[in-house]
Amino acid sequence: MQHTLIALVENKPGVLNRVASLFRRRNFNIESLNVGHTDRKDISRMTIVINSDEVDARKVEANLYKLVNVIDVHDVSTQPAVIRDLALIKVKAALDQRAEIANLASIFRGRIVDVAAESVIVEITGTEDKIESLVELLRPFGILEMVRTGQVAMLRGGYEPVRHTPGAGSNGHHPEEALEMD
């Protein structure tokens, strides 16, 4: 099954490399990985989609926590979440095909964002399924180029994030406390 994990990480050089290296080292397969800013300058947000069973998903979570720069990890797979992917699709389009393509795109609430003599670029935002459906419909025209951001996800309002790793999130104690340990 697909698991979508959200990781908040410190916005420091090399952190993406640490996360990617972890996936390679532990032999986890990433479906998609998206990194972006949050409202805080010092924190970035990663959306990680993996295709794995429950046990492996927990392993990924626990291993992410081993990285010093990872602040929080939660799993939104089993809760109501807004999940979006953005695609830009450059499609071969003769003059008389543009209208048809624009029509198709608009059915999916996509739109044409660039027009050239022989091609157009369609922009679409949505769930994976939706984007895939549009891609299939556009394929007969000839897809010249395509890029997708990978999924980004956010829990719907009113839901508490699920954290599986013990000690994670609010259960963990503060670093100052830890100093007293020794």
């Binding site: 927990r58 990285l67 010093v68 963990g172 104690h173």
Partner: protein, 565 residues
């Protein structure tokens, strides 16, 4: 006050209580070495950076303090790699400090530039690349904190040369702020009660005692648990010393070369209480048939270790010492006499095959030599080892009453660990009786450090179990490759001459009757000593669970008449 980055580094190391560092200088860390002269620290000049890493590691394991090793950029840093991986696999707190080329040269393949943080990313708990002097104080403070807390491990700091030279205001950071780093403390009460209940209900419990007990200094709590609930204790290779060998509840070492009765106890248990161990393949054998009747409680500080190899019934996350002392308030007294009688029977059967009870047949066996060393040192020595048969025999035939006395590379199995780690151990307490039980192959991997030992005047006894083979590999060839000895016969040098070239007194022993005399010689010699024991060439370590086989299906030593003569 304005200080150079190098001075700030030493200011911070002094505040961490660092008294000794191991390393080699070079172009990219010369400012650090130059600044060192102003500080009260002892620097041990090694002959190869791998040696520095193992020394710092041995120091850390024996003392629980953070060890420090230093190297220059490029080849200096890459020479540390084996040592870093060794420390990582065994959760040893070591801070590695490497020099790096000027920040503005990074990425340009400058002379002796190597991507050290890239190389060491998967073999460190964390690492840093420092490009400015202003970062040093904070980074060093964090590095030590990360290295010694939670599940300890190596942390590497790669410091650009310009950052060592630049001057800046020195402000020691009051506290460490790591929003993503939260070592766990103790487990919830309900879980502790559940664990106590499971212990109460069990009839055939076994404690699996791992390295975590030594790391978090929780062995006394474990012993209390064992005694109160009458639970026998099986130890991992690195858990050795957590239970006194003479304790009637001690089952000795588990796993591939564990005691047969110990493995049988695990396979027949109805409850395993795993404490600070990670169900490594060397201790479980075939996972499908591992302890099939047992419920499993796993106390672990690292959540990624739980359910990794063995799916357990009750994981308890936290620092072992805190979890165990909390758990003890719920555990009641009980007895498991029937269970211990059963184990006693298995034990008697094991003893009947034990080489230690063989009569003297004129041959020199490693097991006997190690037992003689135990006698000569009254069981009070600290041992370090290489990797191979001699390592397993040391684990089997030198019974330890105390923790932190058996220092060996477990997870990584790094040959060459013995000699340098012994020097690290010696620096934790110069009155310690430190012995290296080495193999002829392992010894040669880091024998250059003999001259470091001499330069430091360290009183270290080196006993080479010289079987003229890469013995452990030879044993596998004998058992699993029809005795085809591909690349395992070793034509070693004359170790006596090597020792003497270093000014180290040395003796060769080829017969059993010479052993005690040589050990007396070692005892009476004030400085380092080397003993070259020419042991039986083709002896095998028993029992042996072949890799991936069921833990109870051990290759056993053929039984032999026991005599008292």
């Amino acid at each position: 006050m304005e200080l150079s980055g190098a001075e700030i580094l030493w200011e911070c190391l002094m505040r961490e209580g660092v008294e000794v560092v191991f390393g080699i200088p070079g172009g990219a860390n010369m400012p650090i070495y130059d600044a060192m002269l102003k500080y009260p620290v002892h620097h041990v000049l090694v002959r190869h950076e791998q040696g520095a890493a193992h020394m710092a590691d041995g120091y850390a394991r024996a003392s629980g303090k953070v060890g420090v090793a230093m190297a220059t950029s490029g080849p200096g840093a890459t020479n540390l790699v084996t040592g870093i991986a060794t420390a990582m696999m065994d959760s040893s707190p070591v801070v590695f400090i490497t020099g790096q080329v000027h920040a503005h040269l990074i990425g340009g393949d400058a002379f002796q530039e190597t991507d050290v943080t890239g190389i060491t990313l998967p073999i460190t708990k964390h690492n840093y690349l420092v490009t400015r002097a202003e970062e040093i104080a904070q980074v060093v403070r964090e590095a030590f904190y990360i290295a010694r807390t939670g599940r300890p491990g190596p942390v590497l700091i790669d410091i650009c040369k310009n950052a060592q030279i630049q001057k800046t205001e020195f402000v020691y950071p009051e506290k460490v702020e790591l929003p993503g780093y939260k070592p766990p403390r103790t487990a919830p009460k309900a879980q502790l009660q559940k664990a106590a209940q499971m212990i109460k209900e069990s009839r055939r419990p076994v404690i699996l005692a791992g390295h975590g007990l030594l790391i978090s200094r929780a062995y006394r709590e474990m012993q209390e648990l064992a005694h109160r609930a009458h639970i026998p204790v099986a130890m991992t290779l690195l858990g050795i010393g957590s239970m006194p060998a003479s304790d009637p509840l001690n089952l000795g070492m588990m796993g591939m070369h564990g005691e047969a009765y110990c493995n049988l106890a695990i396979q027949n248990a109805d409850l395993l209480i795993a404490l600070g161990m990670r169900f490594d393949d060397r201790v479980t054998g075939n996972l499908k048939t591992y302890a099939p009747h047992a419920k499993k409680i796993h106390v672990e500080i690292d959540p990624s270790e739980v359910h990794k190899n063995v799916v357990v019934d009750l994981p308890l996350f936290g620092d072992l010492r805190m979890v165990l002392s909390d758990l003890l308030s719920y555990v009641e007294e009980s007895r498991h006499d029937e269970w211990l009688d059963q184990i006693g029977e298995w034990r008697a059967e094991s003893d009947s095959r034990d080489i230690i009870y063989w009569p003297d047949d004129g041959k020199l066996y490693t097991a006997h030599v190690i037992r003689s060393i135990w006698e000569a040192t009254r069981g009070q020595a600290t041992l370090t080892t290489g990797v191979g048969q001699h390592q397993m025999w040391a684990a089997q035939y030198y019974p330890f009453e105390e923790p932190y006395r058996f220092i060996t590379s477990g997870g990584a199995g790094t040959m060459g660990f013995g000699v340098p780690s012994a020097l690290g151990v010696w620096f934790t307490d110069k009155t310690r009786d430190v012995w290296v039980i080495d193999g002829d192959g392992s010894f040669q991997m880091t024998q250059a450090e003999l001259s470091t030992i001499v330069q430091e005047g360290a009183k270290i006894k080196i006993a080479i179990m010289n079987n003229h083979f890469l013995g452990m590999v030879r044993q596998w060839q004998e058992f699993f490759f029809d005795s085809r000895y591909a690349a395992t016969p070793l034509h070693g040098p004359d170790f006596i001459k090597i020792a003497e070239a270093h000014g180290i007194p040395a003796r060769r022993v080829t017969k059993p009757e010479e052993v005690m005399d040589a050990l007396r010689f070692a005892d009476q010699t004030p400085g380092p000593v080397l003993l070259d024991f020419w042991v039986e060439k083709e002896e095998a370590v028993y029992p042996m669970v072949p890799a991936g086989a069921d833990l109870h299906n051990m290759i056993r030593r053929p039984a032999r008449e026991r005599t008292t003569a």
